[in-house]
Amino acid sequence: MIGSPDLLAFTGTEGFGGGEEDQDAIPEELSVPLLPPSNPWTSSAQFHRDFILVAEFSEQVGPKPVLTIPDDPRVIGSFDLNHFSVRIMSVDYQASGPGPVPPPSPGPRLNFSEDSRVILGDSAEDAFAYVHHMTLYDLEARGMVRPFCVAYVCSDQAKLMENFCELSTCFSQAADSLKTGNRQAFSMELQRKLQELEYTRVTLQQETEPQTANGLTESGEKAGELDAVERSISNHRDLLRQVTSYPNRKLKQPDFLPYDPADSLTDPIALLPPPEPCPSISTSTRRSEHRLKPLEELCNAYFLSLMKEQLADTERRLRGDRSMLRTARVTNLLSKRLTPINFLFELWSPEDGDEEEGGDAAEVELPRTTGTKSSVEAFQSEPMSLESFFSCVEEIPIKLEADEARTVTPDDSVATEMTGSVSSGDSIEVLGTEKSYRSQHVDTGSDSRAADDSLSSTEALVGMTDTSYKRGAVDVGARRVRAYAKRANSEDSIEVLSTTESIIPDDLTAIEEEETEYQSLSNGFGNKEEALTDYKCDDVLKEEKTLDTTTSNERPVQEDDSVVDRYETLKQITVSSEITIKVEQVSEGLSSNQVHEDEPEKSTRLLQAEEAVDSTPQWPEVHQTVPDLHVNFAPSVTLAEVEQWSPPCAPLRLLSIDEASDCNSFTGSSDPPTPNRNIHSNTRSDRKRRRRAGLRALRFLKQNSFSQHAVFCLLSGRPLVVVGGDEGLVRKLVDALSLFLPAPGPERSAVMMYLTTPLQLTDLLTWRLMGIHRSPSGSSATILQSLTRYSRYLSLLDLDQRTLHCPSYSGSLISRLADPNTGISRGLTYLLHLESCLTALANQALLYTFHPALQRPTTAGGTDGSEKEDFLFKRGICSSESDLRVMHFLSDLIKQRHAGRGPPVLRFSYSPIHLHRNTHAA
């Protein structure tokens, strides 16, 4: 069984283009298997979500998993990683044929074999994988090669097929990062080895010279040794030459770091007195144990982290099932072309193009590559002088020393480093030269300062948030210590994610909901999983969890009001407790880290509690042997979040003030990570946001009897104000409702998450969806008062009183897209449904706007309104006056967009406002 994986597809380096076309060419009905499983939704896969597995064919223990992305037991489930590693590594990974034929030379040769890509599958277990095999170099390994592979593991074979191109691109990128880092590490290892050999040679020569006069036999032995050493030196030099002169074609790629063989091989190195401890650590100790180097030592830390981020990014981008990915792709493709109306609904964003395949992908990836390039250029802009090269070379020994030292006297090193360094977790990305590193310090500093300013300007933050933020700022100092100490080691950015409070609740609900649902439907191991999660989660999450179980349980049953009620009350409770607990948790974590810095155990426990909360991908803990390093994880919340916002592929991208401040403000207040405007800069978070917004929108529809009126207001252009005492709820609802907002504008400029100044008329022309936090301190009173003046133009949704003031809606248009009795129960499903409805609506608006017979009257004064209405009524697009207003508004938006001039226009109507109470009792 082990030896017989069913090989499904195989491609060389040319890619899979043809294959995919074939797949598409087959009519849909033919590609359905003849004997479909009884339930197409069941899967015998033992993992719960797609993940990425990095495995190695270890010469000592055989194939073994190295890391998974995400590193979360809830994702991997009971899936046997070891077994699967054996299967994917048992493919002849060098089957793609030999690489460029190396020139015949006497010494050992490095075989630069091309990577191979295959799709493997185990249909019995429903585990399929796209596997990218590669080899890394390790001086101490057998044949100096270490076979590795990166696999995208998935239970749906067709998903792999459909996303082959993207997988191929992303994995190649990640593999290139890894290999580049490996070459760097390998060349450093060679350098070190050479230094060691030179040193041996010098000592041997010194020993031999005086001895030549004394005895011949001894000198003969010594001479033989010397010969061997010199041969070894030449061999190693040759290897170094080979690795540094690695194919020049790679030079074009930004990830590739060239090494000048001349520089590295010239005498200065040899003449330098070699640092004694290094060889002893790097070679002798290791030799004796013959321990294989872990991945972290095989690869330059920067490139390793880059690879991990690239893989995590891939995993995130391919999250979700086939239909979703496909819909997204089709939506993007079509929306991009449909310029007349593609601004109407937020179905795509230009940055979303990342998900495009093929030719588009190349274009879109341009910014990312330039991003990486800039970092590399930062590397290269320095002339590759000896000094700069040395600093690179010396880095690792120094780090190793530091590590060792720290285990002995942690406090000293902390103290010394505390004084000097002013950096953050960001620094990992700009490793390389001390110069670039320093410049990063400055940037980070200014960023956090700016964040502080903007933070203080937002008055509405409650005191708790403020203090916790300040604590975070204080702790930055402590954190910097670690950032400095471990900057060669990039895990911090990822691990610290585990404490990002903001991401947790919703993200988890979304994921867990899906999971529980999945479990309840499949025959799976729900209980086991649940127990596991409960064990891992803290109290807050337990509540959330039970909540979600409630929702998922209610699903198979009829929509029951009582269930909804129960759910709702539960939710209320949770929401309040959630916040308090979370805030406590943060502050506790912070204080404990300040106070108990010398008690690593406690902090670690805390950290683990928080880690368990996390649903974002994590890396396996690397430095588990150095527990005191954990101590600093928790306080780094703020900066870690900042880090999280920056796209992984553009390491040098600086955060805007907005983003930074927003991230910071979330720290203690359990807000969704939806800052004012800037979220769109990040496709991933945008998608996640939309997914969560979809779920919340669905809940809003189901829980509020007036939901259709609210949606009508948004669709007919009447500004909607959401007022509530709970800032988080307001934000969430605004976020959810923004899905319905036509023409949200670039970066959703038509949405005002959080109104802090009294409303003015011009605001109504800018924002069509606003949130107001009704603070108990009364600072919001003036804002609320300002609403009364413009009550004619507004609709007001009061979360506290559960009322909505707006014109009433009647008609059929909105019930299609916002049906409170919909059978849809998953947020994601609803999002897709909504998107398709909105697309249809936009198309109808397009038709209506550009219908020549209706819109091109002979005279400007001629009103053919009735004709227009007939058009809409007859086609069943509209069935009421309200529906007409929606169509008119959308049509007007299109007209204004394409033919409008002058300042923005607010269209309104003098329709009676009604007070709608939520009849779905709380």
Binding site: P340, Q760, L761, T762, L765, L784, Q785, L787, T788, R789, Y790, S791, R792, L796, D798, T803, H805, T849, F850, P852, Q855, R856, P857, A860, T863, G865, H888, S891, D892, I894, K895, Q896, H898, A899, G900, R901, G902, P903, P904, V905, L906, R907, F908, S909, Y910, S911, P912, I913, L915
Partner: protein, 450 residues
Amino acid sequence: MLRWILGGREAQGSAEKSPVLCIGEEQPKNWFTELQVLKGHFDIVRFLVQIDDFRCASAGDDGLVLVWNIETGERLQELRGHSQQITAMTTFTCDDGLTSHTSLITASSDRSLSLWDPDTGNRVQTISDLQSSVKCLLVLERLCVWISGGEELCVWNKDFQLQCHKQNHSDTGITALIELPKNCLAAAMDKEIAIYRLTVSTDSSLSVAEIRCLSDHQDQIRSLINVNDGLFASGSHAGELILWDAIDWNILAYEHILWEESQACAQAEIRLAAPKPSEMSIQHLTTNGKLILAAVGSGLYVYSVLSKMVVAYRKVAHDSNVLHTMLLSDSELMSCSEDGSVRMWEIQDLPLPAEPASAGFFGMWTFSRSNKQTGAPIKKVTDVPNIRMLELTGDLIGHSGAVQMFVNFGENGLVTCSADHLLILWKNGERQSHLRSLALFEKLEESGGL
């Protein structure tokens, strides 16, 4: 009504503060369903002048004059030059046979006068270092001269050359100027109206002479207008409205607005025993030749020139002083006020006394306490059959400060200017949508498809 936002207490407070009727949200006769906000001023905007069918100039305390395209809402020109607030602005159309070109004349507190070309934004002429700042401007297109009034009366030709001037004795100076037949002028100075005559001598030089002083007003004259060729009218701070013969300057009618009937009929509702002068002050007068509309305090007062009597009025038409009014037609009028709103009114015949007031008719008042007050004049009206109703048909809410003035561009819309530094362009949404549609199709034709 507004209780939903603020909770009970504030709503009650606001109800007490605004005893004026409230029209609610349903306004079928109000066709202003679209608005644009024109930003550019940074102080109170006090003056609006229509340049032509699609252009309008605004000026205010920031000394800026802005020219707007009211079809699109775009700012066309920014006329900078005055260092202090603008005190008067008018258009000056010089018709030299073939072409007529409209310029703008502005006067400012910096004691300067400027002539602007609104097409290019150039300051064509300027006069500075006047003895006093000019408070009013009058253009006599027939003579191709214009007159500035302040502490002195100056006559200028189109090239900004001073033709003649006349010093005044009054402290307050000339606050309003109108043209009368036979080359005469009427100038309002405090409580008096001075009549001047312009004489063109044979060498085409002009001279001005005061020929009469009318001092029948008891209080300061606030407003002075031409009614028609034979009549002009003036209103004073004490609520006196005097109709004058334009040729022999005799009083034709004298109306003193005292609102005495409300004292008699609705004593319970009266907040102050005697009306304050400001409540009776005639802030603004407009006419269409047949009717004179007077803005009296916060009320409106429609006076028929023919019958020489009040045909309709509303004592409390706004929450605060009415600043500007306009008669749109014989039955429709518009007013704006310090309370930040613009209201549209219709002069309606009352239902027959026998006919019970239907709930639908008065329904819109029932939710506010104001129905009692509005009930008072109605009761009175039933006794006097020829008095008609002033019925609120719509209001425009948008400004957060006093609406100083408005200019009506007919079906193109309405421009209002306000103390909140903004101008608002009110339009018929349906018409605009239609126009945009046309523009879109034009653009499509130009570009040849989507």
